[in-house]
Symmetry: C2
Subunit: 392 residues, 2 copies
């Protein structure tokens, strides 16, 4: 068998491999991006499931349209309209198999071999996997506490006329937890229009803000129709359903629909109808408040523990929302080596190097604070701190 050339670049996700090790129940894991499962509204989902299947089982178990379940798409359009000041209807929204699938579909819609994708440095690991399969090159745009540095973004666009996509996570970014300033958002929308390059604004964590006011999305500054919005129910309801979306101008969304037909025909009909039923019967904002309260407490615990237990030469971000924070170690410490020692002490995280498509930055790591109960957060971070003190 002769494989496609792209397979030379495809490798197993480092996180997923680490996650397999951390399945041992004694491991305290800060590695995944897993929501807190004790917050899943299980009783409500059982009700929604039963109601949908009893009242509409034949439809729920049958094939349906590629675009997705109409009432769910309308709910998403309405939420984007009220939260982000848009004027969408259901036809601006395609339901995807998690927002991850929207990344893969974006690769199919936009990327030829050798095309350039501009991304934050660092960026979401599985976006790298999704785009890399289309043979693109990544150009990492310099990124600070405010988001992509606008002058560097412009220089990268100027230097790479074959840029086809700009990929960003402006709210509580994965992996850094950082949030873009308003000015940087506006500037990205302007540069996207000026250079005619579409922006994928990935926003899985935006609803999970712990303090301060929500910032307007990049989309709200978009005059050109170049900004596409990715979202998901994974972090505000449950990831097991694999239901996310991509929203944008109807002409480009219709291209995504055609591509999705060949990829997998459609998303799970029942899952879409059950989520729509849940949204009809329950107040999801109340549920999101519970998630935010829990994650805020865990963020506070994580930050306080790290301030106390980590050596002073280690720096880290203090995100105001989301699931992750980002650690920079002294240059001479390799996070892969640290992980090996930590796993011997039953505690795990993800080394940061994987989040840089062009390599380097081996002295960084990502901590997820949403998934472990409070006492394990303290215990696990203390263990990492002790090991770090030995290494520093």
């Amino acid at each position: 068998m002769r494989l496609a050339r792209r397979m030379a670049d495809v490798k197993a996700s480092e996180i997923r491999e680490i996650l397999k090790i951390t399945e041992r129940p004694e491991v305290i894991s800060f590695a995944g991006g897993l929501p807190a499962p004790e917050l899943f509204p299980i009783a409500q989902m059982i009700d929604a499931d039963r109601i949908v299947l009893e009242s509409n089982g034949r439809q729920a178990l049958q094939y349906s349209t590629t675009e997705g379940f109409g009432p769910l798409r309308a709910w998403i359009a309405n939420r984007l309209n009220t939260r982000q000041g848009l004027a969408y209807d259901a036809d601006n929204v395609l339901i995807t198999h998690g927002s991850q699938q929207a990344l893969d579909l974006s690769g199919k819609v936009f990327l030829d071999e050798g095309d350039v994708v501009l991304c934050e440095s660092p960026t979401y690991l599985a976006a790298i996997s999704a785009f890399r399969a289309y043979g693109c090159r990544f150009v990492e745009v310099a990124t600070d506490e405010q988001g992509m540095v606008a002058s560097d973004l412009e220089a990268c666009l100027e230097a790479n006329p074959d840029t086809k996509l700009i990929y960003v996570i402006p709210d509580f970014q994965n992996p850094t937890g950082r949030t873009w300033s308003i000015e940087r958002r506006r500037r990205l929308a302007e540069l996207s229009a000026q250079y005619g390059v579409p922006v994928l604004e990935d926003n899985p964590y935006g609803e999970l803000r712990f303090e301060g006011e929500p910032l307007p999305p990049v989309k709200s500054f978009d005059q050109s129709g170049n900004v596409l919005s990715l979202g998901t129910f994974s972090k505000i309801l449950a990831p097991g359903y694999r239901i996310g979306w991509i929203a944008g101008d109807k002409d480009i969304i219709s291209k995504y629909v055609m591509v999705k037909q060949g990829v997998d025909l459609q998303c799970n009909t029942l899952a879409q109808m059950v989520i729509a039923k849940y949204l009809e019967l329950n107040d999801i904002d109340q549920h999101i408040d519970v998630i935010r309260t829990t994650y805020r407490r865990r963020r506070d615990l994580a930050v306080a523990t790290m301030e106390d237990a980590f050596p002073a030469s280690v720096t880290f971000t203090r995100p105001s929302g989301g699931l992750f924070l980002w650690v920079e170690l002294p240059d001479h410490i390799n996070a892969q080596d640290l992980l090996v020692t930590c796993l011997e002490h039953d505690v795990a995280f993800v080394p940061g190097g994987s989040f840089f498509p062009n390599g380097g930055h081996d002295n960084t790591l990502r901590i997820n604070f949403s998934n472990m109960p409070d006492d394990k957060i303290v215990e696990g971070l203390r263990r990492i701190g002790d090991i770090l003190k030995d290494m520093c």
Copy 2:
């Protein structure tokens, strides 16, 4: 925005567009490939759903492994072992988002731009869409009532050294309803080994045999590990869950797993656990018997009505299983024109030209007989017959 070059070849599925028209309840549709929804085991699925969520909700709504839910993969491996004489375990099986996703993943694993895919002539429409997105060329192998003509298959392999995949549906093929002979299956496995070209053996309908004995799959003649088996719960349980699989040697399945990580991380956790629970609590073979009995009766009705109502110059297949039969009209009749007239009389089918990746054959059409109740099958085919008599 500049799209990828492949988007020039991507178009909306003709079937899905026809299906939208046929949503009017008065239309008698033979167009889709939809199972009979009145046979879905809704009560059993409600039970399975509730049991899984009550006993294991946190796991069922959480992220899980890319490979899929272990007990479900083990069930599939076991079924392939008993039905097809294999010796698989769970690690030979990857759960996919319908078997359609296994086609897309196969494109990613095997196809570079310009590579050749050998397929039956005609072949499954959405396989053409899936592979075409990878920029392949299709070479149609001459196909008769026994399957691919072995001498033509060999000639095609000889003439196209850049062949990367052979795609076949040996049981109750979509769109023709034909079933390959044992000899042709054996010969395909031999030629695949000789030329080192993998075979995708797609088998969504094999369990739906109406008469006669099951034939051994191509896989059973495979000495080289070149044959990959695609399957799905869509036709034996319900398509709404979007749960299918690809099975094969572990080294190649592990490549598919890596590709799927970037594509969508994993399939719906709950759907996998619910299907596994259904299989544990129910006798699916009993359920499949109900489906087979119903579809056999509908096949009988369709064939008898067509023998009675269609002009003698129209020929058609008499499949011994599955969901479809295939009609050839006199050369001068275009099935697209026929469809226009039929839609005016509220009856629909799919013109056959779309099933030939390189075009032509406009005098053919596909009839689905699984989805309409008995009386509508008779009424709808009589209407088509009347229109055909006017045209012939």
